[in-house]
């Protein structure tokens, strides 16, 4: 059975080794943030980091992923704190959100190797399809994420999940703790 590292945890998949990584992640590991849009590499909704590279998980079989380290959108950060996540929310470069995980992964991979990308760098690194039309905001959002990654700017746009009522009441006067 193919074994690999998914979001820093070792996983043995009891599946046909020819199963595309996408479906192993979604249907066996229940990591449903990685989306199916086409199954043939046209859309990029299924992008994950494989050893740091943004790859389309629909095109990689479990056998090919054997021994490699996979990071999905769920594993990019525990609390939405990745600069790309914060910047996408701050710039509202999201509409329906279906292409978002793949886009975020593509942008994260770009910034990991080039934290100060030009618009041309970004256009070349983000081939993902979006039908709602967030493109006009993407260059701005990814460059802003780059500034956060380079520590020349901070963003606090997407709150961490699971805020306790106590913390909420401390931050928002109108809220009341238990």
């Amino acid at each position: 059975m193919p074994s690999l590292t998914v979001n820093d945890r070792p996983v043995d998949f009891q599946l046909d080794p020819q199963t595309p990584l996408l479906w192993a992640l979604r249907d066996a590991a229940n990591l449903t943030g990685t989306k199916y849009g086409c199954g043939v590499g046209d859309c990029g909704a299924c992008m994950v980091l494989v050893d740091g590279q943004a790859l389309r998980s629909c095109l990689i079989s479990l056998a090919e992923a054997e021994g490699r380290s996979v990071t999905t959108i769920e594993g990019l950060s525990a609390d939405r704190s990745h600069p790309v996540q914060q910047a996408f929310v701050a710039e509202q470069a999201i509409q329906c959100g279906f292409c978002t995980p793949g886009m975020v992964i593509a942008a994260a991979a770009l910034l990991a190797r080039n934290a100060d990308p030009s618009p041309e760098d970004i256009k070349a690194a983000v081939p993902n399809l979006c039908r709602c039309g967030v493109y006009p905001r993407l260059v701005r959002a990814i460059q802003r994420a780059g500034r956060v990654a380079r520590r020349v700017e901070t963003i606090s746009a997407a709150p961490a999940p699971g805020i306790t009522p106590e913390d909420a009441a401390r931050a928002v006067p109108a809220m009341k703790g238990p």
Binding site: G37, D42, C96, G97, V134, A171, A174, P178
Partner: protein, 755 residues
Amino acid sequence: MALSRRGVLLGAGAAGGLLLAWTLAPRRYVAPLPASAGEVAFDSWLKIGTDGVVTVAVPEAEMGHGITTLIPQIVAMELGADWRQIAVEPAPVSGAYGNAALAAHWAPLWLPLATCLADEPGDWLARRYAEDEVFDVMADGTTITAFEASVRAAAASARAMLAMAAANRWGVAWEECVAESGFIVHDKNRLSFAALAEDAARRTPPDPPVLRPEAPGERAGAVLPGAALSFPRLDLPAKVDGSYIFAGDVRLPDMVFAAIRHGPLGEARLAGYDPARARGVAGFRRVVEGPDWLAAVATTWWAAERALGLIAPRFSVDQRADSARIERALDTALRRGDATRIAERGNPDAWLSARFEHVARYAVAPALHATLETASATARLVEGRLELWMASQAPQAARKAAAEAAEVPLEKVVLYPTGGGGSFDRRLESDHAAEVALIARQVGKPVQLAWSRWQEHVAGLPRSPAQAVLAARTAPDGSLAALKVRVAMPGATAEFGERLFEGASRSDALAAQDEADPLFLAGAVPPYAIEHLTVEHCPARIALPTGRQRGNGAALGCFLIETFIDELAVRANREPLSYRIAMLGGDVKLVGVLQHAATLAEWNGGTMGSGQGLACCRMAVAGREGRIAVVASARRDERGIRVDRLTAVADIGRVINADIARQQIEGGLVFAMGLGSGCATAYSDGLPLTGRLGLLGLPLLADCPEIDVEFIDSEADPFDPGELGVAAALPAIANALYASGGTRVRSLPFLAETT
């Protein structure tokens, strides 16, 4: 729950909070018939918890258009809440959320013999229909039109009740209290909604409710791109970490996964298959037969899909959709068909019969929606109760389809709305609801159905194809004296209506393609003062079932009118902007957006070689109007069509959320680019010839032009910005292509035609 005479419902909501409900009919409308007295309309919008959480019900699936932020924002502003205390939950399928505005707009579809009775959004008949029939369809940008008033009324009443509770404790007049940031305030006294909620529930609010003088909204000009937002979208944090739930992300104990093969478009029946061929597929469980489809069920979706690939079911098909036949049918209808006059002015019979100074012919191909999420739904049938998880613009229709397929009573079907991965009106169809229900019934386990991309192309109904002729009589100075618009296409709205309202099958609904379609063709009525005008529809039966799509009649009509007007301006040697403005004396607002867009885009006159084109559009839906002008810079390059810049100025009345409105215009412009560069498919033997997303010519980030969007400050009632950008961008780009090199575009998608 009990309803008081005044129509205000008070009861204990979740968490000991306050549930407010609202009746509309007796309060805001005079019922024209006595029977209305006992049939109270009922809406339910917000809860206030003793923890301070204000939960807002949202009666429409989030497809990316921001409705899960807009409705709560209206509540927050009217109530005086802190945006951070707002929570949302999807409203259940209920007549309480009947969309009377859309019911009125679509009255010809459900009230064919008496369309004049229900032509205003506030009309009692439409409201009663929407509520009694649970007409909860969300389309044509009618949601805010339908619900803003009742949402505001509910929030204003809640605010009054909270103020009454506070005033009682302080011994002051409640009218002197104000609500802000989640507190009721009077002088130095201050109490939170959380502390007042239970007490407030016992109060009786004023009737009618006292609204804030300022309607909810933002000054769009003050919200610059990338700036900090007063009302950031509530759905984005969950969307950026993968935790947001689409229909295919639901996970249930013991759930299995289903893939499906549909027969070709036509009258298809499942003819045969051999399940033994899939024996070797690990995880494959079984097949389920539908009337014109076959599904396979397995422990992963991929195994199910692979099994179907090996099984390769056969279908027998009559009346296969075929592009050559479609084009012949449209051509015959256009040249010789019986025309229904949709609009006329002046004396078109005298002016528009034989001799024309200019004539142009147009062709529009079927276009796919290409939502990134394929049709997906999850179902569980336990002890006669069917639960459905899906995104739908017509949830009641989806429930009905599922109930019928699974043979359970309608009241035993629960639909949990999930987010939709795009829709563009694709999610008005309910086929996958019926399919997943039948599969769940056969399998006896929770099941998740997802169509493959190929199936989305095979069985997702495209925007209707069309052919058209525009013909003009011009005065010696080149100005337009008379215009004839003649469009051949199926009666697409009636065909869709047969499926939605009557539950007709795709092939049964085809008969309605013979009907005239005034709703769709309204988009082809120009905004210009033209002395003699006729707009005619020649219905054509094309054997290809068609669906609705973002832009609808406005996209087709605006493309025809605005490219043709451009041709006339060129012929007359007139500058296209002033040529238009000369005919817009009756629409100062449209002149305003045109001039504003021209200034913003540094309009250079659109002369040959400039590569600049413009177009404008006025839409009217359910008594409200929106306007837009788009200036495009475009050219042909080695990759095809290159759009360098799009500038849009829209007048959508009061802007509720400036950045969401901007998103909608931006999205519309990009969607139009897709319709111009591709989205199309031909059909042969009932199957689409374009089977992959990658072959649809859809724009990518690298194709995205520089885009500027601005809004006109206005206090008029809000108009939904979702379709305006689609409509005006298509002809603006086409006109820019002409101005870049003399190639006139008269087709969708754009194909080169030289004049």
